[in-house]
Structures are given as C-alpha cells and as structure tokens.
C-alpha cells in the first residue's frame, strides 16, 4: 500500500534560475567579494537586477566562454567568490578545458553556473541542450556537481556552494519548479553530497536529479492512487560526490531501482548509480531513464520529457514494467 501523502508539494514556485539569481544577489549584498561573471547571459541568467544594484560586482566578458572561465579563475585566485554564469551547453562544452585546467586542476574555487540546462531551451535544438555535462564533469577530478530539484534545494545549494573552498558546478533550468518537493517530514534538510528522500515507499525507488525529480513524484502519486504501488523518491541533487551510503541503503530493500535524469543515459546519474550497485554486489532490478543516444526530438522541454518517458505517464509505465 502506498504511504499516505501528508504534504503535497506547494503549488508551482519560481524557476530555479530565478531563485539562484535572488540568492546570489543577497549573498553579494552581504559580501563585496562575491562576483557574478557573465557571457552576455545576464538576461537569461536573471541577473539584470543584480547588475543594476551591484554594478561593481558583475563582470561582463561578452560571448566568450573560454575567457569567461579564465577570467573567473583569475578573480578567484585574487580571493573573490566567483560565480561564472553561462548557458550549461556552452559553459561545459566550449570552456571544458578551462574548467579542467584552470578551475579544477589548479584548485581555484570558481562556482560554475550552468543555466537553462538539459533541454530547457527545448525547440532551439541540440546546439542549446546540455545532455553531456554530468558525464564530462564526472570524469574531471576536483569538482562537485549539483542539480537542484526545486526552489528550496536551489537556494540551499547556492549558499552552501558559496561557502565551499573548491570548484562546484550547479545546473538548473528555466521551468517553474515547486518551492519544495517534499512528502516526508524529515526531508527538510539539504546537504551537499547527501541525497534527499522526498517520499518514502516500499515497492520500488526512483533516484532522480534536477528537474526530473518532480515527474518522479507525480508518477509515485499516480502509482499509489491507481495501482496501490508505493514508491520511494530520492532527489539525488549531488551527482558527485555521490551518496553511496544512501544508494546502498535503498538497494538493501531488494526492490527495483529506476534512475531518472535530464541527461544522456550515458555517463550520468544512472551509470553512476549502476556502478555503485554492481561494485557492491547489489542485484536489484535496475533501469536508467534519460535521453537516449540519438538526435533529440524537437519540442518544448515538457514535450521532450514526455517523448522520452521522463513524465508522470512514462515513469508510471516504467515502474509497472519493472515490477512486471
């Protein structure tokens, strides 16, 4: 039997991107060493107000992502707390060598903010999608990778990342997300590196990240209401370092595990979780839901999610299939 839902997520909140911008602005107001560096991206990064209120703390580099990360590195090396803000697709592909060498290898604590991540840009097409960022960054030493699910996680992630003396990549999308995805009382805390169980269940587990957590919760609710199936939902907001302890604890229930992410099925959360399971002798039924290795279908983020089963309907079906 599904657990009774005690705390349905509060309506639709803001885009995580907007929460990022307001959180950064409040950090920057309190600390003059906080800087935003943008690549003609202050509009899409929701930083127009930041730029107007704190003009001395925003640095514009123009459409030049390699220089964005290099300049951010130089500022960080001079004791500034730097947030380099650029669309995730360009930041993590065009400037990858600067991220690898200047930020990670050289130990400069730049915060890399990938905006409009995944398929947020929808019908603008694959040039503007970032479905590779977890994969490439996971293979680079010395970086924390975070994809917050909701407004609450976004604000907490920004605050905690700002206090970290090491490189961090955060990515979020444009779509409005719930203020706080949460059905269990003790899910309130957010800690980098610790997955957040937002719903508890006994028949299967969804381990999801970023904007893919919300459709998992909707599927879990449908499974409970229509199929008497009780699903656990975890927001694995930190993809690296991965919360291995929580994964093994969930695996010990011997129920199926489905991972869900707005990323290629190659090299992302799913393969990371699979690696933990296999190397620890866990034989749970297992499925990775993400974007397949093909030219991505065109459409809005919602339509693309629907097409590839990152949706209430698709994930409900995946759960039914895996439970056989």
């Amino acid at each position: 039997m599904g657990q009774e839902i005690t705390n349905i997520p509060k309506g639709v909140g803001l885009a995580n991107l907007e929460v990022f911008a307001s959180t950064l602005e409040s950090l920057a107001q309190a600390d003059k060493t906080v800087f935003a560096v943008t690549s003609d991206s202050r509009g899409s990064g929701k930083l127009v107000a930041f730029g107007q209120k704190l003009p001395e703390q925003i640095v514009e580099v123009g459409i030049a992502e390699q220089n964005l990360v290099g300049v951010a590195t130089g500022l960080a090396s001079m004791r500034k707390k730097v947030f380099a803000v650029s669309p995730a697709c360009f930041l993590t592909a065009r400037a990858l060598e600067q991220i690898k060498n200047d930020v990670c290898y050289s130990d400069n604590p730049v915060k890399l903010i990938g905006i409009s991540a995944g398929v947020s840009y929808g019908a603008l097409g694959s040039t503007h999608h970032s479905l590779h960022d977890y994969a490439v960054l996971r293979a680079i030493n010395n970086i924390t990778i975070i994809a917050p699910a909701d407004n609450f996680e976004t604000a907490e992630a920004i605050r905690q990342a700002a206090a970290m003396d090491s490189p961090v990549y955060l990515r979020f999308g444009k779509k409005n997300m719930p203020e706080k995805i949460e059905e269990v009382e003790h899910a309130t805390s957010f800690e980098v590196g610790k997955g957040r169980v937002v719903k508890e269940g006994s028949d299967l587990t969804f381990i999801a990240t970023g904007e893919a957590v919300w459709p998992c919760l909707k599927a879990a609710q449908k499974l409970a209401e229509e199929h008497q199936i009780s699903a656990t939902v975890v927001s694995m907001h930190t993809i690296k370092p991965l919360d291995q302890r929580l994964i093994l604890q969930l695996a010990s229930q011997n129920t199926p595990i489905i991972t869900v992410e707005e990323h290629s099925v190659y090299g992302g959360l799913g393969e990371a979780v699979g690696s933990v399971l296999l190397q620890n002798g866990c034989h749970n039924k297992f499925k990775i839901v993400g974007l397949p290795d093909e030219h991505t279908v065109s459409g809005s983020q919602g339509e693309i999610f629907e097409h590839y089963g990152i949706s209430e309907k698709g994930l409900t079906q995946s759960a039914l299939n895996i439970l056989g």
Binding site: E56, V59, V61, G62, A64, Q66, N67, V69, G70, V71, A72, T73, G74, L75, A76, S77, M78, R79, K80, E97, Q98, N101, D102, Y105, S106, D107, N108
Partner: protein, 269 residues
C-alpha cells in the same frame, strides 16, 4: 642588479637549464633557452615577488602561459630561493612534483598551465581584481608564438582592452619556430603589432635576448595609460648554443653527453 650581472645570470641560467634537461633526458630545450632572458629580467628587475611575500595579496603575479618551457622558470625560481635547486635533479621523474609544465605544487607557481591559450585569460581576471581592489599589483604573462593561434587569446585581448587593464603586460617569446615549422608556414601572425594595436593594446618591439633592452622596455610600462601593454620580444630558439639556434629538432631535443659539454663550453666562452 646591473646589466653585467644580469648577463652573467642569463649564462648561469642557460647552463642550469641544459643541466637539468640533460639529467632528466626530457624538456623543452629550444624554448627554454629563448625565454630565459625575459624571465631573468622579470624576476631580477621587474616583479615584486619573493618566497617571503609569495602568499601576500600585494605581490606581483607572473603566469607562464607558455607552460612547456617550465625548465627556464624552475631554474629562475630556484635561484630566487623558492626551493632548493637540487630538487630539479628529479625533473620529470616518477612521483616528482617537478613535472614538465608549471604546477602549483611548487612554491612560486601561480597557476597550473600547459594547455595553450589559458594564461592570458587568467591574468585578465587577476588584473581586473587588482583594479577593483585599487591595489598596485601588476600582472605579467609570457605567451608562445605558436599559441597565438588559440582563439581564447583573442577573447582575452578584447577583454583586457575593454577593461583598460594597464596593470597587465603580455610578453611574446617570438622565436618564430613552432613544433612543426616556422610560424609563418604553420599559421602566420603578421602583421602582429598592427593586429594588437587594433585590439586596443599598446605594443613595443624588443630584442628579447638582450637584457639591457628588456630592462629599458619594462621600465617604460605601462606604455600607454588605460591600455594593456604587449611586448613583442624577438628571440632566437635555442639561443646561446650555436648548433641549437633556429633548429627545429631542439624544440624538445635532449643533448648527448658530448653535445652537452659542447653547449656548456659555448655558453662560458
């Protein structure tokens, strides 16, 4: 340090570069010999950097974008007392921190470099931070002529001029040879001074293997208020060893015992 003393330093540095490359059986010989006079003048006449002030926010900053010529930088940093020179006997050996590119594991190194086209952008960020802090910190980098083809450098050229970073100076080690062939054959740079001036930099030419000329050029910084400075330092790859000068194979050639002795004799002579 007067000019005569600087010239003696350059000779000593050249011999040490060859000593440690010969010992390691690895290194970028030709380029290290071409940039050494620039590093000599920077560290002995220009930069406010020492082992004592290295962690201070007031010291100057040197980031070597042309990372592969690290042997020249190691030799100068050892001479300045950042670490014992004998450490360089481990150059490029298993588990040695003295690897073939600049690394922050070694005191005196500002950043890890080696991928080309990275140093100038970082310098831009540091120079901008110094401006914001209203500090007197000056920022310097040495670029290789081959790496001028990296697009990231040109992003940084635009940035430095836009932000009027006259506390930034980039020096080009213009020995005119890269690993494949002369720059002019691989990817021509000329007319370089006009390009950089068009990008908003103040540009000067200098003989980059003439320490006196280098001292005079650095003394004139910034060349123009409100503009970043670019020094086109005309150098000779393999400078100081006749059989290495302008010979492509010495890009990362390692001398035999006989060649090594011959080189030392020539430098002393």
């Amino acid at each position: 340090m007067n000019i005569k003393e600087l010239e003696e330093k350059s000779k000593a540095y050249r011999k040490k570069i060859l000593k440690y490359i010969y010992n390691a059986k690895a290194g970028h010989t030709g380029g290290s010999l071409s940039i050494i006079d620039i590093l000599n003048v920077l560290y002995n006449k220009v930069l406010n950097v020492s082992p004592e002030n290295f962690n201070s926010s007031e010291k100057d900053i040197y980031i070597q974008s042309k990372g592969h010529c690290v042997e020249a930088l190691y030799v100068v940093l050892a001479d300045k007392g950042f670490f014992p020179e004998d450490d360089l006997l481990t150059l490029c050996q298993y588990q040695s921190p003295y690897i073939g590119h600049p690394t922050k594991k070694i005191k005196g190194m500002e950043q890890n470099t080696g991928g080309l086209g990275h140093g100038l952008s970082i310098c831009c960020g540091s120079a901008l931070a110094a401006k914001k802090d209203q500090s007197d910190v000056k920022v310097y980098t040495v670029l290789g002529d081959g790496e001028m083809a990296e697009g990231s450098n040109w992003e940084a050229f635009m940035f430095a001029a836009h932000y009027k970073l006259d506390n930034l100076c980039a020096i080009l080690d213009y020995n005119k040879l890269q690993i494949t062939a002369p720059n002019a054959d691989v990817m021509g740079l000329e007319p370089l001074d006009k390009k950089l001036e068009a990008f908003g930099w103040a540009v000067r030419h200098v003989d980059g293997n003439d320490v006196e000329a280098l001292v005079n050029t650095f003394d004139a910084l910034p060349f123009e208020e409100g503009k970043p400075s670019f020094i086109i330092a005309h150098t000779t790859k393999g400078k100081g060893v006749s059989y290495m000068e302008n010979v492509l194979k010495w890009h990362h050639g390692v001398p035999t015992a006989e060649q090594y002795e011959l080189a030392l004799a020539e430098i002393d002579g």
